[in-house]
């Protein structure tokens, strides 16, 4: 049940994140929305992991490890995106 609830939350987060990315014009808010979308994808995958519980584990450890990797990679991408936005704004500021 827990898996299903948070899987559905993940689906909703994907929709909310995509909406924010498309509708908001502020670049930082788009990056933030992208993170919401990513969190939703991870939650859906987490629901899959929960359904795969077995062999004494509360969830399938392989998807869990991949989600963990994904969170770190998403953070790295976010920092790069923020740096790009700041550089762009600074360039416009000087012009």
């Amino acid at each position: 049940m827990t898996g299903t609830i948070f899987g559905l939350v993940g689906a909703a987060l994907i929709g909310i994140g995509l909406f924010g990315m498309l509708v908001r014009r502020d670049a930082l808010l788009r990056i933030l929305s992208f993170n919401l979308l990513g969190g939703g994808v991870f939650l859906v995958f987490g629901a899959v992991a929960r359904r795969g519980a077995g062999a004494g584990f509360g969830g399938d450890p392989v998807p869990q490890a991949i989600i963990l990797t994904g969170i770190v990679v998403a953070f790295a991408a976010t920092t790069l995106a923020v740096a790009l936005v700041l550089r762009l704004a600074a360039a416009k500021d000087r012009a």
Binding site: M1, T2, G3, T4, F6, G7, V9, G10, A11, A12, L13, I14, G15, I16, G17, F19, G20, L22, V23, L28, L29, L32, S33, N35, L36, F42, V44, G46, A47, V48, A49, R50, R51, G52, A53, G54, A55, G56, G58, D60, P61, V62, Q64, A65, I66, I67, L68, T69, I71, V72, F75, A76, T78, T79, L80, V82, L88, A89, A90, D93
Partner: protein
Amino acid sequence: MIPALAADGLLAAGILALALGCVATRRAFASAALFIAYGLLLALAWARLDAPDVALTEASIGAGLSGVLLLGGVRRLEGLAEPSPDAETGPLLTILIGIGCAALTVAIGAAVLLLPDPTPSLAPQVAANLATTDLGNPVTAVLMSFRALDTLLESAVVLLAVVCVWALTPEGGWGGVAGLRQPVVRDGPLALLARVLPPLGIVIAIHILWVGADAPGGKFQAAAVLAAMWLMPWMAGLAPAPRIDARWLRLVLAAGPALFILIGLGGALAEGAFLAYPPGWAKPLILAIEIVLTASIAVALALLVMGPPEPPR
């Protein structure tokens, strides 16, 4: 049963309300603050999903570091001339996009509901092979042994991100101190916390790294806490950021991935497969990689939040 269900429902409602708030709020600072609260609740949700390793990562990286990164971005954008804002999305287009996103949510939600229960799982294979690694934490075993190549590439991605962020250094700033110079705060609450919290945080990070072999925890979570403990005095101006051309800095950044590759090559020579650990050596080698990689990732994460150097004005 009922309390568990109630806790899940409450967390779900809270997460969705905060996510909607993030997207709908007018001001960027408020959005970033909501995002931090959202990350907090998401970490609790991961704990409910029996994924404590993911919960620790979400709490430290998803909520803590990402939130502070976004806050810093908001703050720095304010200091710059307002870039002529694009026109807001029109109402008709907003409604159309809303309908499209809602349809996507329904489709993915249906897919979640239609998932086979139980789904195909690798848990039995992990359980069967856990003994060969001498580790007690299955997620660490997956990260460091069964899917070690993924983790190696991930540490390379983090390093690559640092290189890319540095590549955005404006003209005349190359080789300078990472990020904006922070005003020095000698006393007051910020200075107090910046002095007292890091020693505690470092102990906690070492604990998280150490238990990671057998219990939830590990290098990424420990590295994120360490990075936060460096960023704290940095924000108070008490611990200046390093120059990005400092040799020690580049050595620390490269040490983790380099050791990982070396041990992987050693496995190729000794066992005939890249990243294969000789029998009986799995745990010491994994611990060695974890410890060095923690230092590299901690420095990389902190530098990513600090950003590229600024040219002197």
